[in-house]
């Protein structure tokens, strides 16, 4: 990184030569207030709160979008700047409903924090609150345009990071609002439910559909066996809701908390992930070795990605692994195998999944294949944020909970299942088992570095005893396009396929940075959660799915072989072309 010397309020700092004044101020330990800027996004200077002075220049500039110039001294705080910032915040508040107490973002709202910091005790201007209905059309997120501050983060995420273009600015001037393009409902829009809009919204204008009530009702209901599974990425993020550091591994505490909340059985989606590896890995090996079916095989664990593919790239359907996601497999096994083992009527099981993801709420109803047990295999999906609230509501001292273990027989998991929560992890887990299936022996070093890391697209060639497997892992939908285009091009021209196996996760960083995870996720937080999962994997005694004794057991007792007819019945699904716009 080339650095230049600039001054922040007279204090010299070596700033990134290509960075902004905002970045430089951070290095100098000076906090400039922001509302529209977000570390994940290219700053675009909408809110007008981060204005600063350049010494000797009469005009104020936006710290977020103005690049540093060597030698300049930036005044980030003085009474005049603070007064203007306060006026701008007051203006924003004058168009914002004062409903903090009942807002989804109460105490987690960036605007609320600004109002606190700027000592705003009243809104001096006449208020203009828009009169627009909430968009509750999807299972995943609720869009409340009335609370929107038009910062544009959601649209920037949706367009520039996710390449979905479901959200756009509509109308002009005071009527400007963020809404699905063409002013349709979210459900009718190209929205893939990834929830990154909600994760990036500074206020309560887009948020996950809160379904904690359903959980409370289920544990209260008589004769209901509440069975809960937790996704890999939850264990390194939930602690943040209780003031713990990002990446803190709290698996045992979550099991304990869930039991305190009234769960009758507690499982781990990591088991489902191990099962997915068996199915998806076998499916791949079959295609790869016997050249049956279309390569590359594309992973299918991520429901947002699946939705995207069905809308934008339906020609990829033959490439899609038919394996269900770990969550759906886990749910199906809870209502069949587990029910059998415990002599439970599947009808009495209420299957709950704690997920880092809003699209998972949509996935459980995406097709009739999700009811393979005869009823919904998963009845309810709660995000990490919702679980955090449930635990707080129950007054559980989370940090001091003693670790507990998951229930058997579908609770034990390997490190391979754990790393499903991070980009490259599904690929790595699948390759650990594929290696065994192809080479007939165990992979010595199970850490497959080419698919680790934060690059948007990671490519590598894995050598399995002289056979080269060309793999790629992409995360953040904008990064997926290039790979899909390469595949299309190869199909069109008949040139050799560039890949054999491709992993896709819709969210940048993977599920650890999913749309349902605790707020304030940035690259630092992503790195910490990722490290948490890799640490958990490294500490695992078993690191390959095919070595999980409970997995071996379930095949032996229930499913037969991977990709057997029975496995297909419960663990596989179908895809269909869907219109980008429903209407």
């Amino acid at each position: 990184m080339k650095t230049v010397e600039v001054k922040i309020n007279g204090q010299s700092v070596q700033a990134d030569a290509a960075g902004s004044i905002l970045d430089a101020a951070k290095l100098a330990g000076t906090k400039i207030p922001i509302l529209c800027a977000h570390p994940d996004l290219t700053a675009w200077g909408a809110c007008g709160i981060c204005i600063v002075k350049i010494e000797g220049n009469p005009r104020l500039v936006r710290a977020c979008t103005t690049k540093v110039v060597p030698g300049q001294n930036y005044i980030t705080h003085d009474p005049e700047i603070q007064k203007i910032r306060k006026t701008v915040i007051e203006l924003i508040l004058s168009n914002h409903p004062q409903e903090c107490l009942t807002c989804a973002r109460n105490q987690a709202c960036e605007l609320q924090k600004l109002a606190t910091d700027f000592c705003i005790r009243e809104v001096p201007y006449d208020t203009n609150i828009m009169d627009l209905p909430k968009d509750t059309s999807t299972e995943s997120v609720i869009l409340d345009p009335v609370k929107c501050v038009q910062c544009g983060r959601c649209a920037l995420v949706c367009q520039s990071l996710q390449d979905v273009w479901a959200l756009e600015f509509l109308e002009r001037g005071e009527k400007t609002r963020l809404a699905p393009s063409a002013d349709v409902l979210l459900d009718e829009s190209p929205c893939i439910k990834c929830g990154q809009c909600a994760a990036h919204c500074p206020v309560g204008a887009i948020y996950e559909k809160d379904e904690t009530d359903k959980f409370l009702a289920a544990v209260l209901a008589k004769n209901t066996h509440v069975s809960v599974q937790i996704a890999p990425a939850i264990r390194v993020a939930l602690g943040e809701a209780f003031g713990m550091k990002p990446g803190s591994i709290v698996t045992g505490k979550i099991y304990a908390a869930l039991r305190k909340l009234g769960a009758d059985s507690v499982f781990d989606t990591n088991f489902g992930a191990d099962l997915t590896v068996m199915e998806e890995g076998s499916e791949f090996v079959e295609k790869f070795l016997n050249r049956k079916g279309d390569l590359p095989q594309l992973t299918s664990c991520c429901p947002a990605w699946t939705d995207y593919m069905e809308k934008y790239y339906p020609d990829m359907i033959p490439h899609f692994s038919t394996a269900k996601s770990p969550m759906m497999m886990q749910g199906a096994m809870a209502k069949t195998y587990f029910a059998q083992q415990k002599n439970l009527d599947p009808k009495d099981i209420y299957s709950v999944a704690i997920m880092p993801c809003t699209a998972k709420k949509f996935e459980i109803r995406r097709s009739s294949d999700m009811n393979s047990s005869g009823a919904p295999d998963v009845d309810l999906v709660l995000t990490t944020r919702e679980l955090g609230r449930l635990i707080k509501m129950a007054g559980i001292d989370f940090e001091n909970l003693a670790d507990e273990k998951a229930d058997s027989p579908i609770g034990l998991y390997t490190g391979a299942g754990t790393i499903f929560g991070v980009t490259g992890g599904v690929m790595e887990a699948a390759l650990r088992t594929a290696y065994k299936l192809v080479a007939g022996e165990e992979l010595k070093n199970v850490e497959i570095n080419p698919v680790r890391g934060t690059d948007g697209v990671k490519k590598g060639v894995i050598d399995i005893k002289g056979t080269a497997v060309k793999v790629a892992a992409a995360h953040g939908m904008i990064n997926v396009k290039s790979i899909l285009e390469e595949i299309r091009e190869a199909k069109k021209t008949g040139k050799p396929m560039p890949y054999d196996f491709v992993e896709v996760m819709a969210c940048y960083g993977g599920c650890i940075a999913g749309g349902g995870q605790p707020y304030e996720t940035d690259d630092k937080v992503r790195a910490a959660r990722t490290a948490g999962l890799y640490t958990d994997d490294a500490k695992s005694q078993l690191r390959c799915s095919h070595l999980n004794p409970e997995i071996l057991h379930i095949y032996e007792k229930f499913l037969g072989k991977p990709c057997s007819d029975k496995a297909h019945k419960y663990l596989h699904t179908h895809y269909q072309k869907r219109p980008v716009y429903k209407k």
Binding site: L91, Q150, G173
Partner: protein
């Protein structure tokens, strides 16, 4: 000698049936077999829109005004056949008296004008490139290509001191020089024809009357900075300008004046037209670029400036129509010549669109440094109906009001800013004593509320709040502290908005507050509106002159006047809608407006 009948075919005259006039002339000429003796030509705007449609017959210099289609017959029979002026249609201002033979430049409206940008408007047929060529058209481009290096072209512009006519007056040569020095495989020349200030129409008129001057200048710019592509961004609501641009582009391509190997040289330059949907903000250069790129027209932060990183991320020159129209003249006559016109800081001329409560509305091009008094009272012929001058709004919604005390200040880019206004694109709206300054500020603020792109919060929310305060003031429900709030909001908008539109959107308030604080206070404290425009602050009251004739009672549209015949009438203030019909109906001055 052959007669040339020039019929104004600008948008204003066209809407007064200039096209029918043109067709009737053709028919009359045909009918009388005068094809060899007279030629009818559709020209661009003469500028003197107040008196349109205008028909000028050469070589007699007969300046006919307010011509109707039915007049063509008489004009051909009298003027063309018999050689007699049609007196009833001749312009007849005091300055020309009864004279028939006078030059257009004798007319008060034209006397102090100096035309560079409008040099061909009203003289040539915009749809015939030969006429442009006959008036030295494309000679400047040839001169650049064959006799000048790109640096010399830019140097000539530097010497000329030409500043951008679209708003802030940035030196044109500097923009060109930035783009020239930027390394890139492709550069673009954009012509900003997204004229959006209320009342301004100089760019439209230039494109309607002399489109080739802009094409030529764009090619010159392309040559100077090394760009091979030009795009004219024009609002779709300018159909005539778009039509004539299309013709001009086709004709210039046919003659090899635009396109590949211009004049047989190695220089290539293509021009295309892109239509905008008419958003005011798309006149802001970064928003304009976004719009051309197919995105929502919203400004982006500067830097990077378009000259370095513009359309599709490439170095891009954006000049407005009027700026371009000046360029060929400067190249041909030299930068030095240009500095002999206008002021030191702002050489050359500026076109103003003079409208409002003025006798001669129209387009006027005057040397920079002309005083506002000259423009309003000499060229504009003073205030309509002999009313008292109140103020002039210059610079459109982003500008400000200029009052009596500044009428004698020579106007140029810098003096206007010093007066708290700006040049803008040159809109000039004259107000008289019948106007209420709150009402004027409300009008402009309403425009800003509608036209804010909605991106940045100070502008999006601030404009609306300011409008609401103005509205309260006009309705008598504001309090004195509201002025302080308006100032706070305005200040935040000025300093924290992203683009120039937002930074200046509070000007209608700041400028009127600065010059007319007493009027604000009169509205707020006394609940009175001097002009009576703010209807909520006006009441109509019957005085004792009333004889009970019931005329007012019968006229009142809401039946709020009561009283028997020959008895004093009473107006029910709760029902009165302040339409003033009763005052007009009363023959005895028995109703006071207070």
């Amino acid at each position: 000698m052959k007669n040339f009948i020039l019929v104004c075919a600008g948008t204003a005259c066209e809407s007064s049936k200039a096209d029918d006039i043109y067709k009737n002339f053709l028919a009359e000429i045909e009918k009388h077999g005068l094809k060899d003796d007279a030629q009818v030509i559709k020209t661009g705007c003469f500028g003197f829109c107040e008196k349109g449609p205008i028909v000028k017959i050469l070589p007699d210099e007969a300046f006919y005004v307010e011509v109707k289609p039915s007049d063509a017959k008489e004009m051909v029979e009298e003027h063309i056949i018999k050689g007699r002026f049609v007196k009833r249609l001749l312009y007849a201002g005091d300055e020309v008296g009864d004279k028939e033979n006078f030059e257009a430049s004798d007319i008060q409206f034209y006397k102090k004008q100096y035309r560079i940008a409008l040099r061909n408007c009203g003289f040539i047929d915009a749809e015939n490139i030969e006429e442009y060529i006959a008036r030295d058209g494309y000679e400047a481009l040839a001169k650049c290509i064959f006799e000048m290096t790109p640096d010399q072209v830019i140097e000539e512009l530097k010497v000329s001191g030409l500043r951008g006519r679209g708003g802030a007056g940035f030196p044109t040569w500097m923009k060109w020089n930035f783009a020239k020095n930027a390394e890139a495989d492709q550069k673009y020349i954009l012509c900003n024809a997204d004229e959006g200030d209320p009342g301004a129409y100089m760019d439209r008129s230039i494109l309607e009357g002399d489109p080739n001057s802009v094409l030529e200048a764009m090619a010159i710019a392309g040559y100077a900075v090394g760009a091979s592509k030009g795009i004219i961004y024009i609002r779709a609501e300018y159909p005539l300008a778009i039509h004539r641009l299309g013709i001009a582009i086709n004709q210039s391509y046919e003659r090899g004046l635009i396109g590949q190997n211009i004049f047989g040289s190695k220089f290539n330059f293509d021009i295309e037209v892109r239509l905008g949907a008419g958003a005011f903000v798309c006149g802001e250069e970064t928003a304009l670029i976004k719009s051309i790129e197919g995105n929502r027209g919203m400004p982006t932060p500067k830097p990077p400036f378009p000259a370095i990183e513009g359309l599709w991320g490439k170095p891009t020159i954006i000049n407005n129509v009027e700026t371009f129209a000046n360029v060929p003249a400067i190249i041909l006559k030299g930068g030095k010549w240009h500095t002999t016109i206008g002021t030191k800081g702002s050489p050359g001329t500026k076109v103003f669109a003079l409208t409002g409560k003025i006798n001669n509305s129209g387009l006027v091009e005057v040397p920079m440094g002309t005083t506002l008094r000259d423009v309003v009272f000499d060229i504009g012929g003073g205030i309509r109906d002999n009313k008292k001058f109140l103020a002039v709004q210059t610079g459109g919604p982003s500008g400000g009001v200029i009052t009596e005390k500044d009428l004698d200040t020579p106007i140029d880019f810098d003096s206007l800013v010093a007066m708290g206004s700006m040049m803008g694109s040159g809109g000039m709206i004259v107000m008289n004593e019948d106007d209420c300054i709150i009402d004027v500020a409300k009008f402009y603020m309403d425009f800003c509320v509608e036209e804010s792109c909605g991106k940045c919060s100070p502008c999006r929310i601030g404009t609306k709040k300011l409008y609401q305060y103005l509205d309260k003031i006009s309705k008598g429900s504001a309090v004195e502290e509201d002025i302080k709030k308006m100032e706070d909001i305005s200040n935040a908008m000025k300093l924290a908005s992203l683009c120039e539109l937002g930074k200046t959107a509070a000007n209608p308030v700041l400028s009127t507050l600065n010059h007319f604080k007493d009027e604000y206070l009169k509205h707020i404290v006394d609940k009175k509106c001097r002009s009576g425009k703010c209807k909520d602050l006006v009441s109509f009251v019957v005085n004792d002159k009333c004889i009970g004739c019931t005329a007012c009672k019968r006229k009142c549209p809401v039946d709020c006047i009561s009283g028997e015949k020959k008895e004093l009438h009473v107006i029910d203030q709760t029902k009165c809608i302040k339409c003033g019909e009763c005052v007009a109906a009363c023959k005895f001055k028995a109703i006071d407006k207070i």
